[in-house]
């Protein structure tokens, strides 16, 4: 059985020679979380790509709760309610779009129409 670790990307924030970021800096409600990287610190951590919306989630090594996971598509998903509730893989949407006839309208990951040009 393949490991979920195969899905992990890599994020490096190197502030070893920099004043770094103030504590809590970069947090914007509704946006992906930034890693906490103060002065003199080099953060290296895994990331994953939400299979449903495509957002990148930083995997905080200090987090103890499990990350959100969709058993139907066997992928990590981001913590937003829309992605946690229903299984709508982005790759599947792309395949549908590829096969769709011209002028077909699909629903994009943000709920907006995605029209294939005629």
């Amino acid at each position: 059985m393949p490991s979920l670790r195969r899905q992990e990307g890599y994020l490096s924030v190197d502030h070893r020679d920099s004043p770094g970021l103030p504590r809590g800096f970069g947090f914007v409600p509704g946006k992906p979380l930034p890693p906490s990287a103060p002065k003199g610190v080099h953060v290296e951590s895994p990331t994953y790509t939400c299979a449903h919306c495509g957002a990148i989630v930083w995997m905080d090594p200090l987090r103890t709760r499990p990350h959100e996971y969709c058993a139907r598509c066997d992928h990590y998903v981001c913590p937003t309610p829309a992605c946690s509730l229903d299984c709508r893989p982005l790759m599947k949407l792309l395949e549908q779009f590829d096969k769709a006839a011209p002028n077909t309208v699909l629903v994009g990951p943000d709920g907006r129409p995605l029209r294939k040009a005629g």
């Binding site: 899905q7 920099s18 970021l21 995605l114």
Partner: protein
């Protein structure tokens, strides 16, 4: 398909809120070359070049309003294949930093938070194979994505590149 690198050697972001017009040369963005083109982004790099402390909230995000009539790239900016033997695409994707109609960052489709201090800070994100950031077509909000600064912080000089593969 070939890997391409969209590079800006040196630029200063201009901080804007979501769904507000970007300022020319204060962001970098990619848009698909056709209505069906898929772009798979596998790496984003930011290297700080500022000489004073410049903590910046850098977001890579889909755009809810896309550009119209992009301006040609200037000095220090390029979109080039990593492999010199790559064949030219019939509909190449467009890398731009200015346009007549300005793009706007989506309020809900932020993809990656790459906040850093441009005074000596270096940030790099790489995807796993098969887990790349995906873009589709050349319309909102799936066909264009940008690297830009969110309001707050102090803007400073930086360089960046985005490595991606059109399909």
């Amino acid at each position: 398909m070939a890997l391409l690198s969209a590079k800006s050697a040196t630029w200063t972001p201009v901080a804007v809120a979501d769904t507000v017009n970007y300022t020319d040369n204060g962001y970098v963005a990619l848009i698909g070359g056709s209505t069906t083109q898929v772009l798979k982004i596998s790496e984003i790099y930011e290297g700080g070049q500022a000489s004073v402390t410049s903590p910046m909230i850098m977001l890579f995000s889909r755009d809810s309003t896309i550009e119209i009539t992009p301006t040609a790239l200037g000095a220090g900016q390029s979109l080039a294949a990593l492999d010199p033997a790559s064949a030219a695409l019939a509909a190449p994707p467009i890398y731009f930093t200015a346009s007549t109609t300005k793009p706007q960052r989506s309020a809900t489709l932020g993809l990656l938070n790459l906040s850093f201090n441009a005074w000596g800070g270096v940030v790099c994100w790489k995807s796993a194979q098969g887990e790349e950031l995906l873009m589709l077509g050349n319309t909102a909000s799936f066909g264009e994505a940008s690297l830009s600064a969110y309001t707050g912080g102090t803007m400073g000089l930086m360089g960046s590149h985005i490595i991606f593969e059109p399909r």
